[in-house]
Symmetry: C2
Subunit: 358 residues, 2 copies
């Protein structure tokens, strides 16, 4: 019997609606597979908290999370009242960076029963694993403005890539590919335009690839890569990308599989020195919040990734993950379905159906 | 009778195959609409030239182009022998910057007869105009490496945004939208992640929008925007973006309309202080070069944009542009079709058919 302590952070908007359904399914999976989950429910890391306190998180947030095994996260952001760069840099991006969750793992798969926006694609045609660098690169607050407020205003924004940060995400991607059937890695780049960092990134990729002779690889400029996601999505196996490019393709990939509502993600510190964080890819979606119509599958699948990671890919954790995926696929096929899938079910009904299918 | 001098630069790969077809159609349009085009054929700005001389262009390239009215451009790049950042920064990106072609205008439309990769979309459903900043932003060679070649290696890449450069592209986009039926602008951003330049960019957009009360607008993070191109492409009218984000969506948009082979672009210096440059969006495509199978429509449509711009949107230039578009649409509907459109026609056959349809 294994036992884990999970910090549960619903955050904002539909994060607060999907997380309860994720917990419903986690609890059921825990019962079935002998995994005990102890939850620490957290209200901070939300815009509500910010409006009350002027901060996204308490000063001792790290101490409060000192002994959790993982963070189960909804979504953060409420741009009407708090600018996104404040809410995100004060919470999600801080976790990723300060807990060194340097891998953002985002599978995208096309399932039966999901209306695919691409013509002529069937379940199984799309099955890719996006490996996104999650701590550095284009996501920085480094830079500044000269001649502020004048006609001569110039804004400089620094991207920062380290060999340490780049090599470890490339290595992780090649390791993942080695374990998959197709053993292929696509490296996203833009070395023809972004002329300092990206040619260097290409060089690191080429060097890493040499250590994995059994893995085939190619590199594609991000513009052409996005086009190919639409035109030939079946060609992709593992795709590795910088923070920004990974952000883009990990929204685009799931869109090609029908809806962002399905997409899960794992923000991993593979060495387990810090808690990893599991969250749906969709955001807080203010436009649909409060109606109980959000698709909880992204959150539920993220929960499955969490069990898999906590169980270190062995035994109960892996079995629970696989069973949840089977339950998700069954419900996608037979219904009920939320609006994004062409149905009318509520968030709660979807969660209940998946828990029941388990 | 109007008369213009055009520098013709085929460049590399399929650039050399599509440009002759573009010229064929331009010549025919010139005859029909009383426009005289004088060509200056140029072999530099190609990787062949680089391999012979060690430079992409001669030192006096500017002088050689001093009296041309426009540049008609194929594609540059042959990564097998010349790294992309060298070939592109030494030619295309130099033109854009030194000729201050600060607007990159890229229409994307879904036409009858083109197999659309998106399910259930019909001609007319997609009709967007992408307005891309073309001289600054993320495309810089500014930055450098510390601790080079060691484990501690750190690479810094600067993005540079000016108020001058940002405001003029935003203004251009809103002006375009004002002339269109739907009068809507979408502003691409990533202010939740790229924390210095993008929040500032959002502020510039909000300020510009105030000057266009008759134009509706919204802003979308680039990740969500790419997803929406696939899920709801009909929602977009004018989309304005930074250099990098514009690059990405102007490949993705055309991909959603069936093939990059159709997509044209106009690199404009709207004030006409310098020659503007017209080129298909597709690149040199080494994989299909030499087979005479590339789709020349991107080049032909770019030629139409050139006539329209040279004619300042009035009289013969506009009429020639419109007639070429009608001819393209006729051939797309009735054939012949190149491979990317599901047919077997050669590049030459397509060019001939469009010239004949004119
Ligand atoms: C070739 C490359 C430098 C160029 C760009 O990124 O601008 C191309 O992709 C384009 O879109 O014109
Ligand atoms: C909310 C935002 C900062 C975040 C990101 O860009 O990383 C989100 O889009 C994601 O993909 O997790």
């Amino acid at each position: 019997d294994s036992s884990f302590k999970i910090a549960v952070i619903p955050g904002d908007g539909i994060g607060k609606e999907v997380i309860p359904e994720g917990l419903r399914v986690l609890d059921r999976a825990g019962e079935l597979f002998g995994i005990t989950l102890e939850y620490q429910h957290i209200e901070w890391a939300s815009c509500d908290y910010y409006l009350q306190t002027g901060k996204m998180m308490p000063d001792d947030w790290k101490a409060q999370l000192a002994d959790v095994d993982a963070i189960y996260f909804g979504a953060v952001g409420w741009p009407e009242t708090v600018p996104d760069h404040i809410s995100l840099w004060g919470s999600l991006l801080k976790f990723r960076r300060e807990f060194d969750q340097y891998i953002n793992l985002r599978p995208a798969r096309l399932f039966d029963g999901v209306p695919c926006p691409l013509a002529g694609r069937a379940a199984g045609d799309i099955d890719m694993l996006i490996v996104r660098e999650n701590t550095e690169g284009e996501y920085t607050a480094v830079g500044g403005t000269m001649f502020e407020g004048t006609e001569r205003e110039v804004v400089m924004q620094q991207s920062v890539f380290t060999r340490h940060g780049t090599d470890r995400v490339l290595r992780f991607a090649f390791e993942q590919a080695r374990q998959r059937a197709r053993k292929h890695v696509t490296v996203a780049t833009k070395s023809n335009g972004v002329a300092v960092s990206m040619p260097w990134w290409d060089g690191r990729a080429a060097e890493m690839a040499q250590q994995f002779p059994e893995v085939a690889w190619d590199k594609q400029h991000i513009d052409a890569l996005c086009a190919r996601f639409v035109l030939q999505p079946q060609r992709f196996d593992v795709v590795v990308a910088s923070n920004l490019f990974g952000d883009i393709i990990s929204d685009l990939g799931p869109a090609c599989t029908g809806t962002l509502g399905l997409a899960p993600s794992a923000n991993l510190n593979p060495e387990r020195r810090f808690p990893s964080l599991f969250e749906p890819v969709h955001g807080s979606a203010p436009d649909i919040y409060g109606k109980n119509i959000a698709n909880p599958i992204g959150a539920i699948w993220s929960g499955a990734l969490m069990l898999d990671f906590l169980g270190e890919g062995e035994g109960a954790g892996r079995r629970a993950h696989d069973a949840i995926l089977v339950a998700i696929q069954k419900v996608l096929k037979d219904g009920p379905r939320t609006g994004d899938l062409g149905g009318k079910a509520s968030t709660t009904e979807m969660g209940q159906a998946i828990a029941a299918a388990l």
